[in-house]
Amino acid sequence: MKDLLVLSSSPHIKSPETIPTIMFQVCLALLPAIFVGVYSFGVRAAWIILLAVVSTLAFEAASQKLMGRSISIRDGSACVTAILLALNLPPTVPWWLVVIGAFFAIVIGKQIYGGLGHNPFNPALVGRVVLLISFPAQMTLWAFPSHTIFARVTDTLSGATPLGWAKTHVMTHGTLPDTLPFHISQAFLGQTGGCIGEISALALLIGAAFLIWRKIIPWLIPLAFIGTTFLITGAFWVANPQHYLNPVYHVLSGGLLLGAFFMATDMVTNPVTTLGMLIFGIGCGVLTSVIRLFGGYPEGVSFAILLMNATTPLLDRWTRPRVFGEVKKK
């Protein structure tokens, strides 16, 4: 076989971009958020992320071995799922919850559909939503950032995220107070409560800018998603600022940025057409706003993206671009 020529169909050159390079760059883009998470919540956050990565890779390898398929943990997609899952967990989360989440994310969310490319739902979100619904107490136990690496995360209280606080306050007091106990700059830099990865808007934006610059993710989905959320929450805020939170908080705090830039843009589960992406982003924004403003949960990003994931096949089907030279039927 040594000197035989290789023959294939044209084209004979390929772009250097591969699945592992894409996944690696996504991991890279998540580093600022990881850093802020670890800085804010201490070493424990790092352990959670590490545990998520290790258990996710182990589940992926084990399930593929069990099904007699080639093991694909080196393509980096499981790693991205793991990090996203970990970043979507509160820093107080018990270790076994991380493992359960990893199992649902990889095995149920991805492998039984045939692995990367076939899963209709974002695996990390499947893991998170399973946890959120099954273990609501553990999943909503927040901690304020301590900013001391070795601090023990004991100072916990529920409803410490800006969105959660606002929702509880409106429920108990009927209106919002004149001065909020948190500030926009805090949400921007990562000084409010929340999941490990979602607290600092700045860190997320740095990562997102990198991905958009590298053309790894389309800018349209996050723009539509965030823009729609901003507009809807803004409209309610303008109409009744006593009752509804400033839209800037809706954008900067909670999982919106993490979800919009890193999970709604998961290429496997969003539409491939431009119009489809636009509708997808708007849909995510509408659902997120509706759940946040009127629903039982303070946060709706995960549900919104999962629901829109379900519409992806239909969007792909109904938003086929105009083919070059196609004459519109009259």
């Binding site: 023959l7 294939s8 772009s15 393509d75 539409p271 030279g325």
Partner: protein, 441 residues
């Protein structure tokens, strides 16, 4: 001039630096040439000489059979040794002339039609037809057919395609640098034949020297030299028409449906030679390039020269052999047999070293949508590929499978390294086969 935008497109490294600076050399006349009867789209030509006949360079040895077909001429002076099955570019055997060279003299023109422009336009077409000229960009569609549009399809735009958007290839580039006035004369002839209102010569922006030379040459004419942006597949017929005129060739249609005719610069040059000197298509310029060849060259080669001769001339493989390609890297045809001859449509010979070829490990589609973004036809190649994989040809046809121009952009960009073009080609073949079968019933 306002340029219009076609959807998609990619920006691969153009790699033209390997040969762009090299003047065209005349390759020595080979000892034997092999001229397939079918070097064009349409019916194969019919031999008009017998085994043992002596032929002179430029003699017609096979006649076009039907309208969509092309004559074949002897590319050397010599003796017809055989008309037999010989490997062709598709890796199959097909009938070809084998001519043993006895004299390597070049073609000697018998006439000089200086007055060609005073002849009625329609009388020029037979000269082109007689010379066996086909589209030399690679499509090999008989040129006289393209120049004879039906009455109800008036042509108002003539586009000369000097884009050469395929990476690596520099044959057209060199031709424009070295023979600008001949190309200009060819354009004038084409303009005379078609009577088009607009005449464009499109050149990709990465060839500023060619643009300059052609602009200088065409200074006093009405020919618009247009610098088009560097983007593959800018040189594809439909995309080029869109860029220059904002007209879209309807799906399943031809350029003449929007009043345009596109001719490659190489073809234009050949047309000029045919009309002016009565010179048939017996040689062409091609680029021998890639990191696999010892000395890359631009060569003027007699048709029918086997690949092996050309490889020898350029020093052969420099590295471990990887891929041997006839044409460019995006749409060229892979070869394994160096007996295969140069034909009318061979625009280049590309040698890729083994380490540039890589292994074949396609992943399942991860739906990244990059193929959708780059498709110049606005198709959804990811779905077409998946439908082909599962033999769902009806679905594929509904997704405009047959509009694919097989430019290869989707396959180039695919991070999962899926052979989308091959899948699409397969599905196209199956759709057409099934239609034919259904029509029979």
């Amino acid at each position: 001039m306002i340029l219009h935008h076609f959807p998609g497109g990619i920006h691969p490294n153009d790699e033209k630096g390997l040969t762009a600076h090299l003047p065209v050399e005349n390759a020595p006349v080979p000892e034997r040439v092999f001229l397939p009867l079918s070097q064009h789209i349409g019916a194969p030509a019919e031999p008009v000489v017998k085994i043992g006949d002596t032929v002179k360079v430029g003699d017609k040895i096979a006649e076009a059979r039907g309208f969509v077909s092309a004559n074949i001429h002897a590319s050397v002076t010599g003796v017809v040794r055989a008309i037999r099955d010989y490997p062709n570019v598709f890796g199959r055997l097909a009938p070809a002339f084998e001519i043993e060279t006895t004299d390597d003299a070049p073609f000697h023109p018998k006439k000089n039609r200086e007055d060609a422009l005073s002849l009625p336009p329609q009388t020029l077409i037979p000269f082109i037809r007689e010379a066996g000229i086909v589209g030399m960009g690679g499509a090999t569609f008989p040129t006289h057919v393209k120049l004879s549009p039906p009455e109800d399809k008036p042509i108002d735009t003539l586009i000369i395609n000097g884009v050469e958007c395929e990476p690596y290839l520099t044959a057209d580039h060199r031709l424009m640098l070295e023979h600008p006035s001949e190309i200009l004369e060819g354009i004038v002839f084409l303009h005379h034949i078609l009577g088009a209102r607009f005449t464009y010569l499109a050149i990709e922006a990465n060839k500023p020297d060619a643009i300059k030379v052609m602009e200088e040459t065409a200074r006093d004419t009405k020919i618009n030299i247009v610098s088009v942006p560097k983007r593959y597949p800018q040189g594809a017929e439909k995309q080029l028409i869109k860029t220059l005129t904002n007209r879209e060739v309807p799906t399943g249609g031809l350029p003449m449906d929007v009043g345009a005719v596109v001719q490659n610069v190489g073809t234009t040059f050949a047309i000029r030679e045919a009309i002016r000197w009565g010179k048939p298509l017996i040689e062409r310029i091609l680029t021998v390039t890639g990191r696999g060849i010892k000395t890359p060259k631009n060569l003027r080669v007699r048709l029918g020269t086997p690949l092996s001769e050309i490889l020898n001339l350029c020093g052969g493989w420099k590295t471990t052999p990887g891929k041997l390609i006839m044409g460019g890297p995006m749409m060229g045809i892979n070869q394994f047999d160096t007996r295969v001859p140069v034909t009318k449509g061979t625009s280049g010979i590309l040698l890729l070293p083994r380490d540039e070829v890589g292994e074949y490990h396609p992943h399942t589609c991860i739906r990244c949508g990059r193929c959708v973004t780059v498709c110049p036809m606005g198709l959804l190649p990811n779905f077409l590929g998946s439908f082909a994989e599962f033999d769902r040809f009806d679905d594929a046809a509904r997704y405009h499978l047959l509009d694919c121009i097989e430019c290869g952009s989707c396959t180039y960009i695919c991070p999962a390294k899926r052979p989308l073009v091959q899948m699409i080609r397969y599905a196209k073949g199956e759709v057409l086969r099934r239609r034919k079968k259904a029509a029979k019933k």
